[in-house]
């Protein structure tokens, strides 16, 4: 179920009033939110709610065990981590790992080959078919592929943060199973974040959140901006990006450069649009979720970029990987090593493909190479902010080539053609350029100084912008059922 479709509007029109009534009883409220969230998730593939339930249940039980026995605390944490990474590994990475290992074996002229990971699930076929027969369904055949459960990386990471924080004694044990299930599956952020921490969301589920008039109006504002980002901007940019990246060999440098820049904005609008809508929906329900994007393309350094892009994931990796590795406490080389590991794993988190690995490596190398520069007085004081922003944006765009390309070959093709082919009219739509430039100008004014920000704050400007967005949405933009890019992660 996508936020920007009619189905969701109907879904929310049912969920919201019942939620408002059920808030008087906390158990009822959580039960209703959980049922709504599982329905929301089941819309894609009902069988995967078992996975969502299973991973949540394991983490819930492990923390209960930790609570009972301090001596075995570490063991229960390991069980939780192994199960979470086990599910994630099987559903997300097993095909990639198997394919690459088999390629390696073939290169080494070994006759051994690992079986298709999908076949592992076939041991459950007799059991599944018995259940299917019970509910009057015909028996199913063997599994032929591992289908990635939508948003698995998001809810797994959210659930894991709970067990790790509980292990560290940072949060109290949640004894109410329904409430815990609601925390993991809370539908606004279930499939693409923000990855909320238990310390932020669980307390909000413990009593009925207060809903103020400001929450309603802010929620609406967030939702509208997110809706506009997704439907009017991201899906529009995708039309140009997709046609170029489908067959990059047919395009020359100008189109490839513009498609890459367009993709940079597309993914930003797509993902931050989702987050805005998620936060807006949560806000009208009285829940506050963290800011996930803070104008990342005005960043003046790569470190700054990562403190503005997908903040909930960056901070997750910082708290649960970078710091445990030692962070920046072990000297320069160890710091670089930790940064490298964190960035590469962050790349792999996005998907099981070499393109994501390279994307992570590029960011790691970029971050390591520029860390000292960014800290230097010269860079901080002498280089104009605008130049820094352009340089960071150019580098980030370059890395997006690997993120967007369908294969490493395609990524290389795009990169090489950018530097080797000549000028051919890129046929980049003027309207598209105007929209992106308008957003750039807006972000520039918003972030430049408190004085320029004031230009955007008068009621006339804000209301005018909202009216312009609504007019554009209802007349120009098309109803979209295009999924969000980050759902695949």
């Amino acid at each position: 179920m996508l936020f920007h479709t009619w189905v969701f509007f109907v879904f929310f029109a049912i969920v919201y009033p019942v939620y408002l009534v059920s808030r008087k009883n906390n158990l009822l409220m959580n039960l209703w939110l959980m049922l709504a969230s599982y329905t929301f998730y089941a819309w894609w593939n009902p069988s995967y709610i078992l996975l969502l339930f299973g991973t949540s249940a394991i983490d819930y039980v492990m923390v209960l065990f930790m609570d009972r026995s301090q001596r075995w605390k570490k063991f229960w944490l390991i069980v939780s981590l192994v199960s979470n990474f086990g599910f994630l590994g099987y559903f997300k990475y097993s095909t990639f790992i198997t394919t690459n290992l088999n390629l390696l074996f073939a290169q080494m002229h070994l006759s051994f080959a690992l079986p298709d990971p999908a076949s592992y699930a076939n041991v459950f076929i007799p059991m599944i078919n018995e259940v299917r027969l019970l509910v009057g369904q015909p028996p199913r055949g063997f599994f032929t592929e591992v289908i990635l459960p939508i948003g698995i990386s998001f809810h797994t990471f959210q659930s894991m943060s709970y067990t790790i924080d509980a292990y560290r004694g940072k949060i109290k044990t949640e004894y109410n199973f329904i409430r815990f299930l609601t925390f993991v599956s809370f539908f606004p952020q279930l499939v693409a974040g923000p990855i909320e921490r238990a310390s932020n969301l669980l307390p909000q589920l413990q009593s009925a959140p207060r809903i103020t008039r400001e929450d309603l109006s802010d929620g609406l504002s967030l939702f509208l901006v997110g809706f506009f980002k997704k439907v009017a901007l991201a899906d529009y940019l995708a039309k140009y990006v997709d046609q170029v990246y489908e067959t990059p060999g047919q395009f020359q440098a100008p189109a490839l450069v513009l498609a890459t820049v367009a993709f940079a904005w597309q993914i930003y609008f797509d993902f931050s649009g989702y987050t805005d809508m998620a936060r807006g929906i949560a806000r009208v329900m009285g829940f506050r979720m963290m800011l996930n994007f803070n104008n990342p393309y005005v960043a003046t350094g790569l470190g700054d970029f990562w403190s503005r892009w997908h903040i909930s994931l960056s901070t997750w990796f910082k708290d649960y990987l970078y710091f445990p590795l030692g962070g920046n406490r072990g000297g320069t080389l160890l710091t670089y090593r930790n940064m490298f590991i964190t960035m590469v794993i962050s790349g792999i988190w996005h998907g099981a493909a070499w393109t994501f690995v390279i994307w992570g490596v590029l960011h790691a190398v970029g971050r390591i190479l520029t860390r000292e520069l960014e800290r230097s007085q010269f860079y901080r004081e002498q280089v104009p902010a605008f130049v820094k922003q352009v340089l960071v944006f150019a580098f980030v765009c370059f890395t997006w080539i690997f993120f967007r390309a369908q294969s490493l070959n395609d990524a290389w093709l795009v990169t090489s053609r950018i530097f080797s082919t000549g000028w051919v009219d890129p046929q980049f739509p003027l309207l598209m350029a105007i929209l992106v430039l308008a957003v750039c100008a807006y972000q520039y004014l918003f972030t430049q100084s408190s004085l320029t920000r004031k230009l955007l704050e008068p009621a006339l400007v804000r209301v005018g912008l909202v009216i312009a967005m609504i007019t554009y949405l209802v007349i120009v933009a098309q109803p979209s059922t295009k999924a969000f890019i980050y759902f695949q992660f």
């Binding site: 009619w6 189905v7 039309k239 104008n295 309207l431 209301v463 909202v466 609504i470 007019t471 007349i475």
Partner: protein
């Protein structure tokens, strides 16, 4: 050291409750007012023998506008599919044209819509035929749409639907119509909200039948807002298909299976269309066919006769005036259901004779 407090918003687009109410009022005004305002801006010249431009067959907002105008200028409106529209004819060779010749004045308007099978026709009348009220209506029943389970939408048609935006989206269930729930909901909203029909009209007329963002990909440096100044295209004057008799085309006889009217979705939809039109105070005259019976194999013809008989029985039971003319001469058909110009001429004489309200 404390972490700097994370901002809650990454832009300044935050409105107060009152401002949202203002925006809500503006949005409602836009949705209710834009389409009627546009009608005043966009000129629509109703020429003699007007028919919907072929390219704009999916522009139901324009159809609705045309049906209102036609209802003002004509006594009798001909509603049906491409047989009424005139697939193999110019606009001066259509059934409505020859009926006007019979009447010696402009009494009949061509409200035919290409590809409008009875399911679509019922949707067309229900949602976009509000102008057809208190009029004389000749409603054409093209039996071709019951000639196979595929055409009856009991199975999914090989080439998709002509008018998916007109068919019922949820009830009754149409087995041959496959679409996700969300787009169905969008269509259901469009059917009830003229504003959505109007935006589709803009796309159909000014943006090469696509949405504006897609249009800009093909016209990257054009101003999309300048495109709407071109104005409506004139009526359809062209001969869309070569008017060659089916016998000369070498078309073979067909063994059409036919669907029993009892179970036919199309027939039930046709009945629904009659109910809608009568419910709006129209006097309805049904024209059954003219189907090219020469094109059927003997077995298929027998099955067809039963279907036709069932249709006539229902029309008699309903006391609806109708004409089920004998088939036209074989060479006057271009295919299974479309007559050629001469065929229309003959048909017009028969229809005019049978009309209970002819002057």
């Amino acid at each position: 050291m404390n972490e700097p407090e994370m901002p809650d918003f990454s832009n300044a687009v935050r409105l107060t409750g009152w401002q949202w109410i203002g925006v809500g009022i503006f949005t409602v005004a836009l949705i209710l007012g834009a389409a009627p305002a546009w009608e005043r801006v966009e000129r629509f010249d109703l020429e003699p023998d007007y028919r919907m431009p072929y390219e704009l067959s999916l522009d139901y907002w324009l159809y609705e506008r045309y049906s209102r105008l036609a209802a003002i200028h004509s006594d009798t409106l001909l509603v049906g599919d491409s047989v009424v529209w005139g697939q193999y004819a110019t606009r001066e060779q259509t059934l409505s044209h020859y009926l006007n010749e019979e009447a010696h004045e402009e009494q009949f308007a061509n409200l035919g819509l290409n590809g409008a099978d009875p399911l679509a026709l019922a949707g067309l009348m229900e949602h976009y035929g509000g102008g057809v009220t208190g009029k004389n209506v000749i409603l054409q029943c093209n039996t071709l749409w019951m000639s196979s389970p595929e055409r009856d939408f009991q199975l999914e048609p090989r080439f998709g639907h002509n008018h998916p935006r007109l068919v019922p989206q949820f009830f009754p269930t149409i087995n041959g119509y496959k679409e996700e729930i969300s787009p169905r909901m969008g269509i259901a909203v469009e059917q009830r909200l003229p504003f959505r029909g109007w935006t589709t009209h803009l796309q159909q007329v000014y943006y090469d039948k696509t949405d504006i963002p897609t249009w800009t990909l093909n016209h990257p440096y054009d101003n999309p807002f300048a495109a709407v100044t071109r104005g409506l295209p004139p009526t359809d004057d062209m001969l869309r298909y070569k008017p060659i008799s089916w016998t000369k085309q070498g078309t073979k006889k067909e063994d059409m299976p036919w669907v029993d009217p009892e179970t036919s979705l199309q027939w039930h939809a046709f009945q629904h269309a009659v109910e809608i039109l009568e419910g709006r105070g129209n006097r309805v005259f049904v024209l059954v066919g003219p189907f090219n019976e020469h094109m059927l194999t003997d077995e298929s013809l027998q099955r067809y006769q039963k279907v036709k008989l069932a249709i006539e029985t229902w029309l008699r039971e309903k006391n609806l005036p109708y004409l089920a003319p004998p088939p036209l001469p074989s060479e006057l058909y271009a295919d299974a259901s479309h007559p050629l110009s001469e065929g229309y001429e003959i048909l017009a004489r028969q229809v005019f004779e049978a009309l209970p309200w002819k002057k």
